[in-house]
Symmetry: C2
DNA sequence: TTTTATCGGTTGTATTTGTAACTAAGCGGG
DNA sequence: CCCGCTTAGTTACAAATACAACCGATAAAA
């Protein structure tokens, strides 16, 4: 057989996409269980809720762009959040294709609770690392994710 | 409504699990398309292939442990790889519940090609960062992922 | 032994996701 | 105005995933 011109010791845990996925999964598990058990929410629902809570009124399309999530997932998440009475839709007067989404009072309350949990969870997760390390981590991850700094 | 005792500027891109997921997704997209289009493989199949290529004969259960993947996913991935003639199963003599998995010649060839692509892809992904930064990134991700150093 | 529990792995079914096609509304030139 | 083209969002159907129940083999207990 032909010689492989690859490092023979290239471990899968050195492959950055793999490492990133493992870290992402591990870091999400606990928080995911929290919003799932407590509020019956799916991941996309939590993200939509977060965007609306953080940035106020948005359209589905705007959330798609910001979160890099496909519009069908957003569509279903919005429908689910509406069914839970966490948000309401309002057709835009000047363009009736678009719908502005707002959180209801209940939605805002849930957002606040989840935000609080998220911050606490985040702080715990980073507590083993120095500030300088965390800063580098955030910067590199943002660059890899293609987020504007 | 009650005052929220959370930082009002807590952005979702500061929430580490979110950032990790975005980075993981972004970093995987291109390589994922590569093995999907070229070999018709799913992510779990690539991972199983990688483990067998890197570590040699393993049972399904051993791959579950190493990769933190549920056994039903492994079971289906193994079946798919077997259908593609990338691996064979061999019932263990001393315990007929267990099956040792080996790559076929074809499987090894595909492994070599994908490994080569992975290394190249990895190098590209990291090329914007210094060695020191990458070292910190790997260390922190491994810690978050709960991998033994 | 028989009985019971456990282990490695598979299969069935309900959810969830991805892809493409669709509806309805606006836009833009003739 | 009307035709074709784009856009916002939904829906239908196929593919993938999660979860639980399952099967056969082994081990441990009575």
């Amino acid at each position: 057989m032909r010689r492989m011109d690859t490092r023979p010791d290239f471990d899968i845990s050195h492959f950055m996409p793999y490492l990133l996925n493992q870290a992402a999964d591990a870091s999400s598990v606990e928080f995911q269980r929290f919003y799932k058990e407590r509020y019956g929410m799916l991941r996309t629902e939590w993200r939509v809720l977060f965007h609306l809570g953080r940035y106020g009124q948005l359209t589905a399309g705007e959330i798609c762009e910001r979160a890099h999530i496909h519009k069908t997932k957003i569509s279903r998440a919005v429908a689910a959040l509406e069914a839970k009475r966490y948000l309401t839709r309002e057709q835009a007067a000047q363009d009736r294709r678009r719908e502005y989404l707002h959180l209801t009072v209940t939605g805002k309350k849930v957002f606040g609770e989840l935000l609080h949990a998220a911050e606490k969870f985040d702080a715990d997760l980073m507590s083993n690392f120095s500030n300088a390390e965390v800063a580098i981590l955030r910067r590199l991850l943002a660059a890899i994710a293609g987020l504007k700094p």
